[in-house]
Symmetry: C2
Subunit: 228 residues, 2 copies
């Protein structure tokens, strides 16, 4: 029997994985970036085949990783985690560097370190590709701030995984603990964040009109009431 | 240019990955366990080809993952992280369960959750295999304790990666910051933990004779002086 709560015990960081070139690129929030060999240093990333960034990685055979810190702005998660680059240029207006070996864009906002990798293997894992890249360049952007973990994002920042994430869990699979309703709940239509009146001890309607989703920065008016 | 310090900004958990059967099995400390797809839930683990456990995973086409907590004993890291199952039976005397679908051993000591997976893909990543397994069973063993992260192990518990780990870094590749010597340093011959007199503000010789390595539990007498 699969207990889906057990899956939340696996620790991950949170990153922006980007690809493309100076003319057009894209990036997405990833929690699956990990080193697979030390000699030479190689990193694997997991990317939903439907992610707009997947095509850029396949095309350029390169990707960058930006390591986000614990105080990264909700806008970063909203822009890179819950919206698609098919609809707008996610990199426009951002602080972007370019990899010195491959030219891939590297998002510098709210990041403490970066990696630049050239893809040496692509593994078809079903709904997701696993891209394995050899590390070409890496650097520290901020040595004081702490890297954000997925656990921190969930527990402290109340964030949730988007549908394309390898760790996305359909709420119906979780136990009754978090399905028990009291007062009302409102869901962010962008990221799925739930405002729970029972937890917050404040009615949603009483929040100021300029209140935004603490997870992704979406406006209050774009929340919908959750019906059981 | 590769800055190896940047690699420490990638977040990981710490786990025991085990395989084999009721007669003989083995396990090792891993920091690379991560979900790769949600439908169906599949997990990848990274395993050095020289690890004794690798042959068990290839043979049984199954593995388990035990999620360690922040207070896991140094003995667990010593036994599973810095010693080889070629020399002794790591599972002897441990609290071991067996997967209900595959029969793989699951270490229960100091663990808060477990996964049982059947291998569906094996990727040759050079020095390491990447085993991708479909999740068959999972469970919570302790819902109060927190999962340990590699960062916590390094910064709070002062642990270091063993040579077979994908994240192992040869100290000569790191900057001068941590190579500057003051007073003396002593290295654990089992796990490589460094006792630095300048940091600890206590001479190694003044430590009690029953003092053990805080990372892996090895005796004081098995430390050697580090010469520049």
């Amino acid at each position: 029997m699969i207990n889906y709560e057990a899956l939340f015990k696996i620790s991950y960081g949170l990153f922006i994985v980007s690809s493309g070139d100076k003319n057009r690129g894209n990036g997405f929030i990833s929690n699956t970036v990990f080193q697979v060999t030390a000699e030479p240093p190689k990193f694997a990333i997991c990317c939903n085949k439907n992610n707009f960034t997947a095509a850029f990685i396949v095309g350029s055979k390169a990707f960058s990783v930006s390591v986000l810190h614990t105080a990264a702005s909700p806008d970063i998660f909203g822009r890179f985690g819950y919206k698609s680059g098919k609809d707008f240029d996610k990199l426009e207006g951002m602080d972007v560097g370019y990899g010195e070996s491959t030219g891939v864009p590297i998002v510098l906002n709210d990041s403490i370190a970066f990696l630049e990798c050239r893809v040496v293997q692509t593994v078809d894992a079903g709904t997701h590709f696993l891209f394995i890249g050899e590390l070409l360049n890496s650097g520290i952007l901020d040595d004081i701030k702490e890297p954000i973990t997925y656990n921190y994002y969930r527990q402290i920042r109340k964030g949730v995984a988007p549908k394309n994430a390898p760790t996305y869990i359909d709420k119906s699979k979780l136990g009754p603990k978090i399905q028990v309703a009291a007062l009302k709940k409102y869901e962010c239509t962008a990221c799925g964040y739930i405002y729970d009146e029972a937890v917050e001890e404040k009615r949603f309607i009483d929040l100021p009109p300029d209140w935004v989703c603490p997870s992704c920065g979406t406006a209050k008016e774009d929340f919908i009431e959750v019906t059981a």
